[in-house]
């Protein structure tokens, strides 16, 4: 059974359709990358799954819990608050702009939620945070403040912050788009390591080579719909749709 399913998701902002019946499924331990032109609804889809946006219509289930489904009037009916917050515990999200808390040290950025949301003991949370920082090769930055770090370091802290909540699924919303090309590599390396540990991930990215080699499955979205879906080979080498081919050709040229 998939750990995450989103079925026939519709979402519009001020009457403009952004998602027009998108469906995706993610199996446990799978890495799904979502590619596609800007404005195709990739980020909005992630934000709907992370409950930062509400869907207009459609169904989302996470780890067997139903977040939202179509009600009698065919519009979205969300589950009760307890279910919604239980589901959000399963999901971590890494933002394009990191969104670290500027007034907290690196260590406290990572421990604040485990301590005050999960009720972990402070010492326990700090030990876990130091372990994560070690993994992110940032052990020496525990006491630094976000503004003292490079963009790549900030993004690694935000990945550690998400991992500290022990999510079942980690969503990445263009995690390298705010970074210099030089710093992009260090983030991609971290995500590759997580993939090797069979972390379930859904990654929206514009890094095509990365999207291809880290993914078990690739989804190509355009104009609010899934146009193509399959293994990296199927999508990148054997695209069926002209829309996919024309999108990918712009990358192979450069």
């Amino acid at each position: 059974m998939p750990i995450l399913t989103a079925r026939e998701i519709y979402k519009s902002f001020d009457g403009a359709g952004v998602l027009k019946g998108v469906s995706i499924e993610v199996e446990k331990g799978e890495v799904l990358t979502i590619i596609g032109p800007s404005g195709s609804g990739k980020s909005t889809l992630l934000r709907c799954i992370a409950q930062l946006e509400t869907v207009d219509r459609g169904a989302i289930s996470v780890c067997g819990d139903r977040l939202v489904q179509n009600g009698k009037d065919r519009t979205a009916a969300y589950s009760d608050r307890a279910t919604c917050s239980r589901i959000s515990r399963h999901i971590g999200l890494v933002f394009q702009n990191f969104n670290l808390f500027p007034h907290f040290s690196v260590l406290r950025n990572i421990t604040e939620a485990p301590v005050h949301v999960l009720g972990k003991k402070k010492e326990e949370a700090e030990a876990a945070a130091r372990e994560l920082l070690k993994k992110m090769e940032l052990s020496d930055k525990a006491d630094a403040y976000p503004y003292q770090l490079s963009g790549g370091q900030q993004q690694r802290v935000s990945i550690a912050r998400a991992l500290a909540m022990d999510p079942d699924i980690l969503l990445f919303d263009e995690p390298t788009s705010a970074l210099d090309p030089e710093l992009t590599g260090e983030i991609l390396k971290v995500i590759r390591e997580l993939a090797a540990e069979r972390m379930t991930m859904v990654i929206v990215t514009h890094e095509m080579a990365f999207a291809r080699d880290v993914a078990d499955r690739v989804v190509f979205m355009a104009d609010g719909a899934v146009v193509e879906e399959g293994t990296p080979e199927q999508v990148f080498d054997n695209a069926q749709s002209r829309r996919t081919k024309s999108f990918l050709s712009r990358f192979s040229e450069s």
Partner: protein
């Protein structure tokens, strides 16, 4: 002119000014937070009365508000407030409106991404406000708050219009009875000294919050 009597009377009057200053802050800062929350409310039945309150407080002279609360309340409601208490009420209501607008600006200046990160991590709305938003607001609003604090030190002198014997009232009495400008100079030094302390406190606070950007 007996300088020791002058100084002792002016010091005593300064205590009244300080009393007005501190009592106003004690109540208008928390009230300002509540007003800011009301102003930001999506419920129109809450936000509109709050808007009107802010307009009234900022749109009419503080001196008029003092006069109204001391002299105007009686004919309308039958309530006659004591002079000092009336002054405190006027200052608190007036400054809460200004503080509310400063708080509102500060709260709105916290990037949306901070709320989103907090939400995804599972913080409740209350935790998000007190742990994530408010500390950042405090840092941002220090400069405008220091302006208001300094204004308040000087505005306490307005309480004389309803007969409160604060610093400037005592000073003017001395000037007219002794026919000397010296008390004015002394008063200026007193106000400057109080505001030097206020300024220093804000400088310390800014330095303490300088550890992040």
């Amino acid at each position: 002119m007996n300088y020791s009597i002058l100084l002792s009377q002016m010091l005593e009057a300064s205590l009244m000014s300080l009393r007005l200053f501190f009592s106003t802050l004690l109540f208008s800062v928390p009230l300002g937070l509540l007003v800011a929350a009301g102003r930001r409310s999506r419920v129109k039945l809450v936000s509109w009365p709050v808007r009107i309150y802010i307009l009234l407080m900022r749109g009419t002279p503080l001196m008029l508000q003092l006069l109204f609360i001391f002299y105007g309340l009686k004919p309308l409601t039958g309530i006659q407030l004591d002079r000092v208490f009336a002054a405190q009420v006027a200052f608190i209501l007036n400054y809460a409106a200004y503080f509310a607008e400063i708080f509102r600006g500060g709260i709105d200046a916290v990037p949306r991404g901070q709320y989103e990160a907090a939400k995804v991590l599972g913080f409740t709305r209350r935790q998000t406000f007190f742990r994530i938003v408010l500390p950042q607001v405090c840092k941002m609003i220090l400069p405008p708050m220091s302006n208001e604090f300094i204004n308040l030190v000087k505005d306490t002198s307005l309480a004389q219009v309803i007969g409160v014997t604060e610093l400037l009232r005592v000073t003017s009495d001395w000037v007219s009875s002794a026919v000397s400008m010296v008390p004015f100079a002394v008063a200026a030094v007193f106000y400057l000294a109080m505001n030097a302390v206020v300024t220093r406190c804000f400088a310390v606070a800014e330095k303490r919050l300088d550890y992040y950007r």
